[in-house]
Symmetry: C2
């Protein structure tokens, strides 16, 4: 019988009712303007449509005893002749972050992309000052193809670079 303290991180498909748990930290992360080039004026309906994508893409949540700790969505980076390269977006609730949520979501996404038949994964816009994310993706086999200079306006650091990160599958 497991101890109550042996908490289990679960990653599963997001359900429509998970949005209520995602929206508060989605809104906070976008409003902070530190990690996402999303419009801070997005309405909740727009944000939901942006994040809760359906097939052939997928949205998942990382939960701990059904508390949502983070979320990711995953999709083809481009249609048509570019549709063999996957991409994804990740958010972890800053108020519930614990070690390994981002990594577990990243590993899950890589497996999804591989099992879905994609040949590679490309992240288009990793903010260079988001050092935790950059280190995580490197540790999961991604390399920096380029830094687009001054492509992101950070509220404290000013214009900083956006990294294009890539790995083959």
């Amino acid at each position: 019988m497991p101890l109550a303290s042996a908490r289990q991180l679960t990653i599963r498909d997001a359900r429509p009712e998970d949005w209520a748990a995602i929206w508060p930290f989605f809104r906070a992360i976008v409003a902070a303007r530190e990690t996402y080039a999303y419009d801070p004026e997005l309405t909740e309906a727009e944000a939901r449509a942006l994040w809760m994508i359906g097939p052939p893409g997928r949205t998942v949540v990382a939960t701990d005893d059904e508390v949502v700790l983070g979320t990711a969505n995953m999709y083809a980076n481009r249609p048509g002749p570019g549709s063999h390269v996957a991409s994804a977006s990740f958010m972890v609730d800053p108020n519930r972050a614990r070690r390994g949520v981002g990594r577990a979501l990243g590993e899950h996404m890589i497996e999804w992309a591989r099992s879905s038949g994609f040949r590679a994964i490309q992240f288009n816009a990793v903010v260079e000052t988001n050092e935790g994310a950059v280190a995580l993706w490197r540790s999961l086999g991604f390399e920096v193809l380029a830094t687009v200079p001054e492509a992101f306006e950070h509220p404290r650091h000013g214009y900083v670079g956006l990294l294009i990160m890539h790995r083959f599958l």
Copy 2:
């Protein structure tokens, strides 16, 4: 009085009725799968919505005596903290191509981006085998930040790279 042969290339805002002239070559270019990572199954309505963008973006046509020779659209590459970088897409009718249409559209777009207050221009997906386009953008001051390897499936060349090109304004 100008000679009839002194043909004048004009670039102006696209009007709704210009779509009828754009769609045939848009469809042919996308169906060829050589230069655009667009879905070849796009319906005409989807293609029109994709291409004929409104403010704050802009769609233009290059015309010669009101015959549409090519078109471009231009927009912020990303919203929010990324909205100071512009991007654009260009198509020239292969059946009406003449020297300078692509260049005139490119120069026009650069001026639009500069006068609109953007700080840089990023092209996200220039197919590396589209040598004319790569040479044109280089001649207009763009540099290749990276080639995303094998990111585009070309019908004759197989998996080829997608160039990320950039210039400051």
